[in-house]
Symmetry: C2
Subunit: 418 residues, 2 copies
């Protein structure tokens, strides 16, 4: 079966990953493969149960068309999201469906012990049925901060300075690991399943324990010299501010508008203890603001001004059509978003604002998990061994019946098609 | 001779445009054309005098290699630069050499009359020798502000609001016209002839009558949704500032740090008349600062803080390796640059600053002319008719002797090469 080139399978599965449901004609058109290669590959993928042919559409000419989809459960991934005030682990499938999940709170301030990441992944793996374990392809990890080429992570919020995350996890697991900055995984998730599916100039900004921007311009992710583009959180908004940032400077956007710092300011002004700065406490500030607590409103206003200003810089520099906001902020959309937009409008150029949309992510807190899954799927497709594993016959799947039916149907059609 | 595909000539001339001097092997390698097509095209271009074979290098293996260059004067262009406090017109050749130039001051504030642009171009054209006129290919125009797809220009500094520049000039001239934002022409010039020749993540920022950034990221120019990326000048640094911007807002970067506004602040503080705000007067402020005039230093410090902040936003968001500063600022490098860099360092993230270079343009005030020429060359190569005109036999050129020699040399070699 090696006659079917890896590249054909890769191109077809990548297209199905992005569009989810396509016709044979769309595959030929979008991949640029010749129709014979497409037919050959589709037959192979259908026989193996990697893809399904569902429904038939009557097109204008009266000719029948099949609609092709991925078999959701042809391949599984473990997705890990280390961004925010909780760490999240999930067992996901080819289309981003979550089969199991495991989450736990982490404390800001203290360095994250890597054993907790290992334990979380193992908790997920322990719960798998044998059939699921067989089709586990890779582990995708969405991680805040900066990741160098050796897989070392520098993330103030995790207390990591060039921490060899990839090497440490590699010791604990046999399964291939893929690691990516959460900036990038999140915009990838938005473009895969969220509100940026048709947008070539879009930005995803997480306001959580940190603040980072994931930028797509002219249809490409913005990477930069050292893969550090999008470091919105460490723009120094006010160098004379008393707010001290984890990065060592004063008055960074993060030190004013990140979740733990919004809560810190509220606690300081109301005489509460600020020893344990938990990001999740920001929800309390949103709640107080709803009740018109003037201190909460004052703190949110200051954070909104800093955020609006940073968004204005971004808007003028990048000229995007869509800014998506996520992170803890989604819990305070009603009291926080309009304040941010007000300051954005005050500070950006009118022409750049025209036609710009600012939205809250539709993926909710699962965006990191979706992004880590997307990373794992895309990276696995690029690896020939993993690609072939994804395409291997689905035998033990609990989805077996459906597959066999499809299989039979396809075989009979294949004769006429060729 | 139509057997030689336009695309071959285009690829080869585009490579020569960018690298200026290449070997036959480099052409084959970089263009991906097959060696026979390259040989065929090079013979044609040499016979016509479009390219020259200069010198021979002994390579390691002892084999002789020719070095191929453009014939500087195989094609001419009129380059127009409307940025800054002067408008500049030049008659340039294929490698950016300036044969004639015409410059004149314009006043800030009053709308620019398009007749002055037409007159300037005509002044240049009137001075051409007939041989030069024959080989004039196109007019390239580098223009500040925003240019829409219809060639209409909105530039506060020129007093233009959707002004149909392309249409107006089209009525006056038969020669093909190419129009591009000065942001983009300037970075194009830096990548062609300046200090960004090997840089894939670089930014050019002109501080003149306006302030705009021209951004290259991951090897591509940043364009944005409406081609408005890089609008650094209209980031509102301080919405409560008294400084009123041409765009209608208060406290934009331009209203604090552009050349006319630096002079305006100095004039206001020293009780001078500010009726005629000329950008070129900024040089007087630089001179006063050199003499330690406290008012001049105060004004420059404020401008430097605003500029440093804007550069910090850009540095964090884009992660470039090189920021090039140009415009009137080059006249005050000694008193202004270190102040800007100080504030940049205060406000950007340390990791992004590491390895970042900030430089003054090496192209001086000619950068816009070089950029307009680069635009005209590149655009002409994309147009089959203009491409063939560039490649047409150089007969009347004052460079004829040199060409004929080369011609003869090449012919004899061509026999052995094939």
């Amino acid at each position: 079966l090696r006659k079917i080139a890896d590249q054909w399978l890769r191109d077809i599965l990548a297209l199905l990953h992005q569009r989810r449901s396509v016709t044979r004609g769309e595959i030929t058109h979008s991949t640029g493969l010749n129709p014979a290669s497409v037919s050959h590959s589709l037959r192979y993928l259908t026989q193996n149960g990697t893809i399904l042919k569902v429904g038939e559409l009557e097109s204008n000419g009266g000719r029948r068309r099949e609609v092709i989809k991925l078999n959701d459960d042809a391949a599984y991934f473990v997705a890990v999201d280390l961004e925010g005030s909780r760490i999240r682990f999930a067992f996901t499938n080819l289309v981003g469906g979550i089969r199991y999940r495991w989450e736990e709170d982490i404390e800001s301030g203290a360095p994250l012990n890597v054993q907790r990441v290992i334990d979380g992944i193992q908790t997920v793996l322990r719960n798998l049925a044998p059939a699921q374990r067989t089709r586990l392809i890779a582990i995708g990890i969405s991680c805040p901060g900066i990741i160098n080429k050796a897989g070392q992570v520098t993330a103030f919020n995790l207390g990591w300075q060039k921490f060899p995350l990839l090497a440490e996890l590699g010791k604990a697991f046999d399964t291939p690991l893929f690691l990516e900055q959460s900036h990038r995984t999140c915009i990838s998730a938005e473009r895969w399943l969220g509100c940026a599916q048709n947008s070539d100039n879009c930005v995803y900004i997480a306001v959580a324990d940190g603040i980072g921007a994931s930028i797509f311009v002219d249809g490409h992710p913005l990477v930069g010299r050292d893969q550090m583009a999008g470091e919105l959180g460490h723009i120094v908004i006010d160098p004379t501010a008393p707010d001290r940032c984890n990065c060592g400077k004063h008055g960074c956007l993060e030190s004013i508008a990140s979740s733990p710092n919004i809560w810190r300011q509220y606690a300081e002004k109301t005489g509460r203890s600020v020893r344990h700065i938990a990001g999740s406490k920001v929800i309390e500030v949103f709640e107080r603001a709803r009740q018109k607590d003037p201190v909460a409103l004052e703190v949110l206003d200051r954070a909104a001004e800093a955020l609006g200003f940073a968004l204005a810089c971004l808007t003028n520099l990048m000229n995007p059509e869509l800014i998506i906001l996520g992170g803890d902020l989604i819990r305070g959309e009603d009291v926080f978003l309009h304040r941010i937009v007000k300051h954005l409008k005050l500070r950006a150029m009118l022409d750049s604002l025209e036609g710009l949309q600012v939205r809250i992510t539709s993926l909710g807190p699962d965006i990191g998990i979706m992004g880590a899954t997307s990373l794992a799927v895309q990276s696995s497709l690029l690896d020939s061994k993993l690609l072939r594993k994804i395409c291997s016959p689905v035998l033990d799947s609990f989805d077996g019946n459906r597959r066999l039916n499809t299989h039979r149907k396809t075989r009979s059609r294949a004769k006429t098609a060729l």
